[in-house]
Symmetry: C2
Subunit: 139 residues, 2 copies
């Protein structure tokens, strides 16, 4: 797999779930379809479960399922659940006693914050039902 594949994996998986919301899927099935490992799947989907987007169950009939209707889950929900900004802001930690650096950081951080907000708004306008639903006889 490649970099930043967590969001891809999450979107892809929930897209399929939207097509067939009642089906219980195991992490092994999901992993095979996505070309990765069951543990990786559980790691990623675990965050979505924490965010209330998914439900997981153990045991024989266990697996993963949407926690609510596909029309009620947007791409922004998934993006936010993973809690990893796609907007790389250059890791801001130090107090930066250099005034030029400080001014720049203020400016760039402000732009980045706006951009991220805008990104989330854009993602919020699409639900997984729309993305997965283009096709209905799949998986």
């Amino acid at each position: 797999m490649k970099r930043n594949s967590r969001l891809s994996l999450a979107l892809h998986t929930l897209g399929h779930m939207a097509v067939n919301p009642r089906k219980m899927r195991t992490s092994a099935e999901i992993a095979e379809h996505a070309g990765t490992n069951p543990v990786v799947v559980r790691r990623v989907l675990g965050k979505l479960r924490q965010a209330g987007l998914l439900i997981s169950e153990k045991g024989h009939a266990g697996g993963w399922q949407l926690a609510r209707e596909p029309q009620e889950i947007t791409l922004a929900d998934i993006y936010l659940a993973l809690d990893e900004s796609l907007i790389a802001t250059g890791r801001t930690e130090e107090p930066s006693r250099c005034s030029v650096e400080h001014a720049l950081h203020q400016k760039v951080a402000s732009v980045m914050a706006d951009i991220e907000k805008s990104l989330i708004e854009r993602l919020a306008s699409t639900t997984i039902a729309e993305v997965g639903g283009a096709e209905s006889g799949h998986l």
Copy 2:
């Protein structure tokens, strides 16, 4: 140094150059101020030279200087010169024979492209003269 420090380094350096555009700076000086290595500085500033933002000269009085007036260099110029998108789009290469994945990728890529365009517009509205110029008696 941290990750994605190239843009920070570039912005920081050109911010200072904007304050004092006639001064010739060596990569050693710049590196010390930025807390990094001269070779790293040359690597980053080299891309800005390729983009026509900086001029470098060898020899005794050599070093780095702005290629044009600070009012004529925007943050977008620097961002674009480095040619590294801050918008991580999850590396799209495979044809993706899965229709759900394809639909998702289309959607996300389209949003990301818009966002990046918007980011560049925002950065283009600020010049390094504005950022560095808040202060004049520095370096």
